[in-house]
Symmetry: C2
C-alpha cells in the first residue's frame, strides 16, 4: 500500500470535532483504495497559544514540513481576540502559509444542487455556478514591507502597509491559474485595480504576457469593484478567477457566500513543492463548539482536496465527494443547512452517515 | 431668490444626455423653490483629453473651486483605455477628488420597491435594504506613497502601492460617518482588515475611540472579507458602513448591486468646506451613448443629493426624490430597468415624464 504522512491540525472551536469525522472517513478511504495514512497531530492557533504561548510553535512547522500533506480544521475564538496581533491565532495561519511557501490558494465555490435553496440569490442566477478562485497567498499587502504604525513629523500616528508584487511572484501564481483553468472550462478572469494601482498594472501586464503561452485559455480582466458586482449580478459568467492576496480574500468569500452554504466549502493551499494545507473555508464557530452541532462536510471535502491536489489520489477524492453528495441526497443535514423535510443530524451522526453510504 | 453657482461636468459617453435631463429638472426646482442656479460647464475625462490633452485641465479645477457645487455625469470609454494611466479619464476623477479635498464619499444603496424584482437576490433578503456606505476618498492606497514600478536588485520589476492612514485622516472620515449614522438608524459598522493589516489596526483603534463621543450610535466592526459575505447573506443588518478608500470602492459597488438597478444610484463626495461633487455610481456606458437609451434617474438623484448635502436645500431634494419614485410608480422605465407591463421610454422622454409629475 502507498504510504502517506498526514499532519492533522485540529485547532480551535469546532475544529477537533470535524477533524475526528474527517479522520474516520479517511480510514475508510485507506481500506478501499489500498492506501496507508500515518496521522500525526500538532498544535496551532488558540490551542497552541494556550499550550505554548505561541500560535505556531516551531515543532508544528517541523512536523508539517516532514509530512506529505497537512489537514487543518479551524483556528481562532473570542478568547484570544485581545492578544497583540503577532500572538493571535491568525498569526499562526499566516506563519504556516509563509513557512510552507503556500503561494497558491484554491477556493472552489460550487453550487450543490441539493442545497441551492440556501443561497440568498435567486435560483436562476446561481443554478450551475462553479467558480474556482485562485488567490495568491504569500505576497501582496499581507506580507509587504514597510508595515507598522509609525510617528509622523507632526507627532501623530500613521498606519502603513505595502501592497507589492514582483514579476516572478505574479508569474508563478499566474501559471497555477492558467493550468487550473485548463482543467476546467478554460476561462480565466484576472482581477486587479490597474486603473488606480501600479502594482495592479504590473499584475495585468504579466498575466497578459503569460496568456500568450496559454492560447487555449480565454483570458479576461476585471477591476476588483466590478468583479464584486459581477459576482452578484451574473456569477455564471465566471469559471476560474485569479487575483492577489487581499482581493482574493474578499472575492473568494463573496463567491463562497453565493452558494449559501459556507459550511460545505473546502480550500487548498499549495506551494511549488512540499506539503499543501487543506482546510474548510468556514471558521472555528466557538459558539457551537463541543456541542456536536458542527457540519463536518467542508472538512471531509477538504480531505478530498488533499487526496486530489496533495496526494494525487483523484479516484479517492471522487469517492469522498460522491459520498458527500449522496448523504445530502439521502436527506441528511446538519443544523446550518437544515431545511423542511430533511433529517437533522449532529456532527458525529453525519460522520456515521457518510461512512454508511 | 437664493443664488448658486453650479459647475456641470457632463464628461463622456452617456454623460451629456443624462446631464441635459438633470439640468431640465433643476430648472423646474428653481421656479418651485425660488432658487437661482447659474450653470457653468467644464471639461473632464475623455472629453477633456480630446480637447486639451489632459483629463483634468487646470481651468476645470478653477471653475469647480469657484462654484457652490459640482454635478458630474460620467467619464471614460474604450477610446482612452490604452493611454498611459496619468493621461486616462480616471486620472481626471482622482485629480478632482484630490484637488477639492473630497475626503468623504457617501454612497447610498437603497432598494426601490418598484424595482425590487431587478435584484438578483431573493425578495425577502433585500426588501427594505437601506445602506449608506461612507467611504474615505482622498487617502489610503489610492494616494499612498511610495508607489510605482521599481527594479529590484535581481533586475526584475516590482509593483508597489502603499495603504496608509494617519489618525487625523481616520478621525475626520469617522466623524462624518458617526454624524451620518445619527441622521439614519444610528448604527455604524466600521470595516477593516485589522487581523492582518497595521493600517487597519490604527483605523479600528481610532474609530473605537471616536465612538465614545457618539454613545447614541451603535458601533460594530467587521473584517472586509466577512463584510462582503454579510452584504450577500443578510444585507438588512446594515445601516451605515464606514471604511477606507479601497474597501469602500469594492463594498459600495457590491452594496449597489444588491439593488439590482445600478442605473438608479447617486453618490456625493464632500470635503471639509468648498463644493462637493455629485455623480451617479454607474459609468459612461459608451456602448449606448448618443442613442437616447440611457437612464437619467441616477443623475437626477445625484442632483437631489447635491441639493441636500451641497446646498442644504432638503425640501427641493425631497421633491426630486419623490418625483423619481412617482414616475416609476406610473410605470415609466428606461431599458436597463424595463420589466413586463411597464412603459419603455428613452432618456429624453424619461426626463419629460419627470417634469410632468
Ligand atoms: C484569518 C485571516 C488571516 C485569513 C485571511 O485573511 O487570509 C482568512 O480570512 C482566510 O481567508 O483564510
Ligand atoms: C474609476 C475609478 C478610479 C473609481 C474608483 O476606484 O474610485 C470608481 O471605481 C469609483 O468607485 O468611483
Amino acid at each position: 500500500a502507498q504510504q502517506y504522512r498526514i499532519t492533522l491540525l485540529p485547532g480551535d472551536g469546532i475544529g477537533p470535532e470535524i477533524m475526528a469525522v474527517a479522520v474516520d472517513v479517511l480510514k475508510v478511504v485507506e481500506k478501499k483504495f489500498d492506501l496507508q495514512f500515518e496521522f500525526q497531530e500538532a498544535l496551532i492557533g488558540g490551542a497552541a497559544i494556550d499550550a505554548t504561548g505561541e500560535p505556531l510553535p516551531a515543532a508544528t512547522l517541523d512536523v508539517c514540513r516532514n509530512s506529505d500533506a497537512v489537514l487543518l480544521a479551524a483556528i481562532g475564538g473570542y478568547k484570544w481576540d485581545s492578544l497583540p496581533s503577532h500572538l493571535r491565532p491568525e498569526a499562526g495561519l499566516l506563519g504556516l502559509r509563509a513557512g510552507l511557501e503556500l503561494f497558491a490558494n484554491l477556493r472552489p465555490a460550487k453550487i450543490i444542487p441539493q442545497l441551492i435553496e440556501a443561497s440568498t440569490l435567486k435560483r436562476e442566477i446561481v443554478e450551475g455556478v462553479d467558480i474556482m478562485v485562485v488567490r495568491e497567498l504569500t505576497g501582496g499587502i499581507y506580507f509587504g514591507k514597510p508595515r507598522g504604525i509609525f510617528e509622523t513629523e507632526t507627532g501623530q500616528k500613521r498606519g502603513v502597509n505595502t501592497m507589492a508584487y514582483t514579476e516572478s511572484e505574479i508569474d508563478r501564481i499566474g501559471r497555477v491559474a492558467f493550468e487550473t483553468a485548463r482543467k476546467r472550462q478554460s476561462k480565466l478572469c484576472s482581477v486587479d485595480k490597474s486603473n488606480v494601482l501600479e502594482v495592479s498594472q504590473l499584475w495585468r501586464d504579466r498575466i497578459t504576457k503569460l496568456g500568450a503561452e496559454y492560447p487555449d485559455v480565454e483570458l479576461t480582466h476585471l477591476y476588483v469593484d466590478n468583479a464584486a458586482m459581477q459576482l452578484l449580478r451574473a456569477p455564471k459568467q465566471f469559471d476560474t478567477i485569479v487575483t492577489g492576496n487581499l482581493f482574493g480574500d474578499i472575492l473568494s468569500d463573496a463567491a463562497a457566500m453565493l452558494t449559501g452554504s459556507i459550511g460545505m466549502l473546502p480550500s487548498a493551499s499549495l506551494g511549488a513543492s512540499g506539503p499543501g494545507v487543506f482546510e474548510p473555508v468556514h471558521g472555528s464557530a466557538p459558539d457551537i463548539a463541543g456541542q456536536d452541532k458542527a457540519n463536518p462536510l467542508a472538512q471531509v471535502l477538504s480531505a478530498a482536496m488533499m487526496l486530489r491536489y496533495g496526494l494525487n489520489q483523484g479516484a479517492a477524492a471522487d469517492f469522498l465527494e460522491k459520498g458527500v453528495l449522496q448523504v445530502l441526497q439521502n436527506g441528511a443535514r446538519t443544523g446550518d443547512i437544515m431545511s423542511v423535510g430533511m433529517q437533522l443530524l449532529g456532527c458525529r451522526a453525519m460522520g456515521e452517515a457518510l461512512i454508511q453510504v
